[in-house]
Symmetry: D2
Subunit: 166 residues, 4 copies
C-alpha cells in the first residue's frame, strides 16, 4: 500500500471545506494498493514481453488483495451469494515489460456508484520506473443465483469500503 | 467471413457520391470476420462462466485469422520485423457465456490511421443470440528490433488491407 | 476423427476369439479423435514456441469434443452432478511447435477402469509431420457435491462409451 | 526456502561415508524451495477449484525463483543463449484447492544428469495441510539458436547448482 503523490490544490480557507458539497462520485480513496510480480516465462509471448492479456490476471489479483486488506474476503463474498464480475475494461498499453523484469501493479478503488465499483489501474516497471499500463476497470455486484445486478452492496462490503475513505 | 446486415441508407442520387468528401478515417470494411469457439473448462472461472480475460485470447485469434484471410500471415510478419501489439483495449461485458455454450467472435478492421489498426469487436452467444461483449482494440505496427513505432505499414500489410475496402 | 494405422495381428481362426479372455483393460477404441489448432501469440512464450502448459488447454478441448462426438455433453454431465477432473498427467515434450504452425491434437480413450478414464495423447505438427508431444492423462468421475469419487459412471457416459468399442 | 523433514538413516561409522560410492544420480539437495500463492478467480474453473493447468504456472514460477535464489537469473540465461524447456512432466492430482485458499508450492532440484535437471514437486494447501499435487518435471538445457540440446550446462549454471549440494 503506498500513498501516491497527491495533486496539489490551493489551500482551503479554514472551515470552508464544510460548505463545499461533496461530489456524489468522489474518490473513495487516494491510496494505491500495490502488489509486485516478476515476469515469468508463462507471462510472455513470442516477443519476449508480457502478453497483453496477462495484465488482467495481475490486476485481478491486486483487486482481490486490496479488498482483503480492508476486510473483504472475495471467496467469502462469493459464498454469500455476491459476485463482482468485470463489466467494463479500458486499458492503454504504453510500454512493454520484459521477461525477468518486475511489474508493480497499482490499483485504487476510485468511485462507488451504488453497486458499481470503479478502479483506477497503473502498472509500472520496477527496473525502469516507466509507466507501462494505465486504465479503468469497473466491477458490478451481481447475485449469481438470480443472474441479476444487486440493488445494494452486501453490508460487509459497504461497511468495509467506507474504511477506505478514512 | 460473413456480411453483417448493412444499415440501410437512402439511395444517393447518381454521381452524388463523388461530391461527398471521403472521411479520412472511413471504415476499411463493413464485413465482419467470424470464428466460433465452444466454451471449455479452461475458459471458465468459479462462476461457471467465461473468465473476463479469456475473451482476449479469442479476439486475438479472430484478428490473426482475419489477417490471414486477406493474405497477411502474422508469423511471417513477425519474421519480417514487424509486430502488432495491442496499445488500446476497451471492452464492455454485457452478459456472461457459460460452459458448453458457443461464442461467435466477430472482428472488423474499422480504421487505419497510418500504422494504427482499429478493430471493432463483438461476441455473441450462439445458443441465446445475445450480444455478450463489445469493444474496440487498437494495434500499432512496431519494429521490435528498434523498439519503435514504424513510420508506415509494411507493403504486404498495406496492400492486403486495401483489399478489405473492395 | 481419423483411423490410425492398426497394428497387424495374425488372423484368428474362426470362433477362436470367444476363447481368448478379453483383457480387463482392453483398449476402448483404436480410433483417434483429432482437432487442429493454429498457434497464436497467446499460446507462445519468449522463445517463440508453444509454452508447455498451453498443450493442456488443447488436450482438454480435444477430450471434451471427443466425448461430445459420442453423445456425452460435458456441460450437461456437470449439471447432472458428475465432474471428470484430471488425476494423473504424464507428458513428454519431444519437439517445439512455433508461432503460426498448426498443431494436430489427437486423443484416444484407451482404457476404462470403473470410473477412471485413461486417455492416450499425441500432438503432431501439421507442417513438419513431427510428433511433438505424447502422453497419458487420467480422469476420474467424482460427485462434486459430496467431494467423492463415484462408484460407477453415470449411465449416459457408460452407454455412450460402449459405442467406442464398436 | 525450508528444510523438509529428512528421512532418518542409521548413523554411518566414522569415515565410512568415503567408502560408499556416491550414486551417479544423487539428490542435488534435500532442501525444498517454496513459494505461496493465493487462489484467485483466474486460477479456477467452473468447479470453483484450481484448473489442473494452472499448477504448471506456479511450478514454473517456483523453479525460476529457486534458480534465482542460487544466483541463476533465468532471463540472463536466455540472453546468454541457453533455454531450459520442460521435456517431461508427470503430475498426480490428489486433492483440489479452492478459490481463496493458499497453495504452498514446493520444488526441489533432485538430480542433474549432464544437461537434464530433474525437479521434485509438491503442492500443499496451507489451510488444510493436505498434499494436493505431487510429481516430477524434467528440464533440459538447449541452445535455441541451433535448436539443439547443449553438451554441457553453461558454467554459471553448473557452478551455482553445486552450491545446492553444500
Amino acid at each position: 500500500m503506498s500513498d501516491s503523490p497527491k495533486p496539489q490544490l490551493p489551500p482551503s480557507p479554514p472551515g470552508d471545506h464544510c460548505l463545499v458539497p461533496r461530489p456524489e462520485l468522489e474518490a473513495v480513496t487516494e491510496k494505491w494498493f500495490e502488489i509486485m510480480v516478476r515476469v515469468q516465462p508463462h507471462h510472455t509471448d513470442y516477443g519476449g514481453v508480457v502478453w497483453h492479456g496477462t495484465y488482467l490476471t495481475w490486476l485481478e489479483t491486486a483487486r482481490v488483495e486490496c479488498l482483503r486488506s480492508i476486510g473483504v474476503d472475495f471467496a467469502d463474498l462469493v459464498k454469500l451469494g455476491c459476485d463482482l464480475p468485470v463489466v467494463n475494461l479500458a486499458l492503454r498499453y504504453h510500454r512493454a515489460i520484459r521477461l525477468g523484469q518486475t511489474a508493480v501493479i497499482k490499483v485504487q478503488m476510485q468511485e462507488i456508484q451504488k453497486v458499481r465499483l470503479e478502479w483506477q489501474n497503473q502498472i509500472v516497471c520496477l527496473e525502469t520506473g516507466e509507466l507501462c499500463v494505465t486504465g479503468k476497470i469497473t466491477l458490478v455486484a451481481i447475485d449469481p443465483a438470480k443472474g441479476k445486478i444487486m440493488r445494494r452492496l452486501p453490508p460487509v462490503v459497504q461497511e468495509n469500503l467506507l474504511k477506505l475513505r478514512q
